[in-house]
Amino acid sequence: MGYDLHFGWTGAIGKVVLGATRADGGTRKISYPIGGETTLPLLFKDPLSPTPLVALEICDNPEYWSPIIRNFCGDLVDTVDEWAKTAETVYGADLVRLYLTSTRQRNFSDIASVGKTLEAVLSATALPLIIEGSNEPGIDSEVFLKCGETAQGEKLLLGTAESGRYRSIAAAALAYNHSLIAQSPIDVNLAKQLNILLREIGVQRDHIMIDPYTGTLGYGFEYSYSAMERIRFSALKGDTDLAMPIICSAIDSLTIKEVREAEPALQDEMAVRWEFYTGIAAAAAGAEIICVRHPKTVGVLKNAFASMKSGAGFSEGK
C-alpha cells in the first residue's frame, strides 16, 4: 500500500503481565503480556498489536446473576469451580473473571470461605484469573487480603479500585504482586487522577489496567467508547498516567430491556449479539480484555478477533 499513516505518536501503552506459569512461580498454564501498542487499536499491519482477550465472568452465588445464564448453563452455575473449568475447557475463554457475589449477602463475614472458593477455582482452571472483590467497602480489607494471599504468586488481576475506595486493593496488589483494575465514571481526567493516586500509594504503572466503565450498547455505550479512544490517544501522545491497557465489561448487557423482554426462544441470541457488538466496538476503541457473561459470546468474539488479523476473511472479487 502506497501510503503511510503518520500520527506522530511518541508514547506507547504500558505492559501488564497477567498469570504466572511454573517458570515464574505460579501454576497457570499461560501468562499474558497485555499492552505495549504504539498506535491505534487493531491496525492490521502493526505487528505489536496484540489480539484482544476474552474473559468469561462467573460468580460464586448465582442468586445475583442474570437468570439467562442459569437457563443456558444449567446447574453448573451452582458449582463455581466446575463453572470455571467449563469456561476454560468448553467455552474457550482466555481468562476467567470471578465475582465474589457471595459477599453481597447482608452482614457477610465468612472471609475464610472466600479463600476456599478462590483455592478451588485456582485448582479447577489453569487460566489466569481476574478476581472481583466484595461489594461492601466495610469488608474490603479482609477480602482483598485473603484473595491476595491465597493467590500469591499467580499474578492475578484484582478488581476494582475507585477514587474513594482503593487502599485495600492496592495493598493486596503490592503485598502479593498482583495487578489491579482502576475504574472511573467515564471521565478521562478522573481516570488519570486515580492512576496518580495509585502511583502515590506505591502501585507501579505496569500493574494497572484502566476500566473507564462501560455502559452497554444503547445505555451509554458511546460515552465509554469515546472515553476509551481518548485514553488511547492521550497515552500515544505521551501521557504516561493514562498509558495503561483497558478492560471492558458491560455488566448490564443481560439485564437491559431488549434482552430481558426478548422472546424466550430468541433470548440467548439477543444476549450474545448485544454482548458481541458492544465488545467488538470496544476493542476497536482500544479495550484489550473484553468481559462477557454469556458463554456463547466467547466463541463468537474469539473467532472475530482471530480472523481480523489474518489475511483471510472477505473473499476476493465481491
Binding site: A175, N189, Q204, S234
Partner: protein, 683 residues
Amino acid sequence: MIRGNTSMTDVEIAKKNGESYLKMMITAIQHSVSYDETAYHLPISFALTGIAVHNQKAALDVFARTSSNPLVAAECILAEKTAAEGREPSPYTGFIDDTVIRKLGYSLVDGSILGLALVVGTPKSAGSVSAICRELQEKYMLTFLAGDVVTSLSGAGVKLGLEYRLIPLGPAPAYGIHFVDIIARVAMMFGGVTPGDTHRLLTYATERAKAIVIVFSGLTDQEIAIVDGMRVLGFPILSLGDYSGGAWIPSLPEEVVRRGMEQKGIRVNVTAIPIPMGCSPAFEGKSIRKEEMYVEFGGGRSPAFELLHMRPVDEVKDGQVTVIGPEIDAVKEGGAFPLAIIVNVAGKMMKKDYEPVLERRIHNFVNYGEGSWHVAQRDIIWVRISKDVVAKGVKLEHIGKLLASKFRMDFPQLLDAVSVTLITDEAKVRAAKKVAELVYEERDARIKGMRDSDVTTYYSCTLCQTFAPNHVCVITPEHPALCGAISWLDGKIAYEISPSGANQPIEKGVVINTLNGEFEGVNKFVKKASHGEIDRCSLYSVMEYPMTCCGCFECIALILPEVNGIMVVNREFKGITPSGMTFSTLAGTIGGGAQTPGFAGISKNYILSDRFLQSEGGIGRLVWMPSPLKEELKTRLVKILTDQNRADLYEKIADETSATTIEVLISFLDRVKHPALTMKSLV
C-alpha cells in the same frame, strides 16, 4: 550495663559508650548469623547495602561499609543470639517472619493501621504505660514493645499479641532492633526499595513509614545507641525517662502519643459525628418554616455572623466545642438569639488564603443537619434549629460538633485540628462581630487588589474536558475562568487540596507579548493540555490566539468588523445580535475546544477587568451588549469608566433597543461618535 539508674542520663555520652560496646560485640561474633523464614537475610543490612549477611565476615564487612552503624551491629548480634539460642519464649515474638510482615504492610497501605510505634524501657508505673498503649490502639497505631514494658503491661492485665496491635518483641530494649528490620522489609516489599539503595530506604522510612519511638528509663548505653541510631530513619524519639541532651524529645505521658503522631503528620480520620441528629447531604435543601422552628439566629431579628480563621496548632484542641452564653434550652420556643459561629482551624498545610473558601462550607454543613438550616454568609447569616431535633436533645454544642467533625472529614489532609466557639451572649457577639468585619474587609481588599503581575503562577482548569477534550482555561487574578465559577484563588486552593485534580499550576515564564498577555510558560502548558492542538494563547486578546472555549462560557465577545469594535452577548439573551447570529449559534461554532481568532468565551465579571480588551485598545472597543447585562453591570461599569474619565461611553454602548442589525448599529455608533470607529483597524 547500668540499668535502672535514677539520675539523668546524658544521651550523647551514653551513645558513644554504647557504640563502642556494640563495635566490640560485633567483632566478637563467632557463629553464623541468620533468621529463618525471611527472604531478606539480615533485613537491615540487606536493605542498606544489598549484602546478604550470614557469617561474621559479612557482618563485619557491612558494619564497615555503613560506617559502624549501631543498627547493623545490633542486628547481627541479636541474629547470632537467636540462631544460637533459638527463639524467645512466649509471649515474646522475637524476629517476625515475612508472611506476617506482608500482612502488616498490607494494613499500613490499606489504612487500617495509620502508623507504627516502638515502646521500650522500664516504665515507672503500669498505669501510665497502659494508658499510652490504649491511646495508641485507639488511634490505629501498631505498637511494638521491647523491655520491661512487656511485663509491666501483662502484669496490669493488658492483653498482648498481633490481634491487639501490641506486639511484645523481646525482654530487653535491644529487641527493638526488630522494629527496624520490620520497617526495612516493608520498604523492600512495598516501597519499591531495592536492596542496597540506602538513599531510597531512608527516604521511604522518613516519609512513608509513619514510625515513632517512645523511650522509658532503664536503657543500657548500647540500647541508647541503638535507639538513637533510629533517628536517621526519621523516627522521632520521645523520651519519658530521665534522659537529657541528644535530639530526643522530652515528653509527658499524657501528650507523648499526640506529639509523636503530630511529628510524623499522622492524622486519625473522623468518620462519625456524635450528635443526636441526622447529618447528610440529603437534608441540604430542607427548609425549616416558622412554625417548625424552635429558635432562630440572625436574619434581621438578632445580630449573627460566622467566621473561620486559622490559628497556630497549639491553640486549637481538635474537636473542642465551646458555647459562650446561654444554650438553646434557655431560649423560649420561637425566639431569636444572637449568634457568633467561630471556627478555628489549624494544619501544617493550611493557609490564610483558604479561609474564605473553607468558611463558605459552614453554610453547607449546617444545612446537612436534619434539623438545622442556614442561609447566606458572613454577617448576614440566618440560622434556624427545628423543634423536632430540640425535642431529641439537640443543643447548640451539637451544631458545633457537627461543624468540627465535617471540617475534619472533608479536609483530612489540610486540617489537623478544628475547634468551634459559639457565642450567644449579645454583648460578646457584637464585640466579636466588629473584629470579624475587619477580617472581611481585609480579605476583600486583598482579592480586589490582586493583579496578574503580582504572581508568577497561574492556574489551569480542565474540568470541561469531558465535553471539550482539548480545552483548557488559564485562570489569572484578573482573568477568571470563562464559566464564571472559578477565580485564581479558587484554582490555587483546589490545587493545594487536590494536587492531581483538574486545577494545575502554570508557571508564566518569560513574557512574549505584554499587550496580548502571551507568556512562554502558558504557551507550553496549553500546548500539552490541548494535546498539541493549540500552540499559542494570549490572555488579554480576542483577535489573536484567544483562549479556547468549551461550551459553558457566560458570555461571548466577538469582533464586528464593520464597526471596528467588539460586541458582547450573554447566554440569557435569546435574541439576534448585530453579528447576524444569536448566542446559541455562536456558541455552537466556537465551542468544543476551538481557538477562534476574533471570538472569545468569557465570564461576566471579566468585562469589568482592566485586562478585558487590553490587546484591542481597551473598553473603548465595546460597541454593543444586551440591555439586561448592561443593567446588571451598570454600577460597576460606570465606576470604571468614570475612573478612566470616559463616563460618557456608557451611553454610547448600544444594546438591542438601539440596534439589532449591523446596518442600524453602524448609524447608531456614527451618531453617538463611538470611539471604536476611529481606533486602529482590528482586521
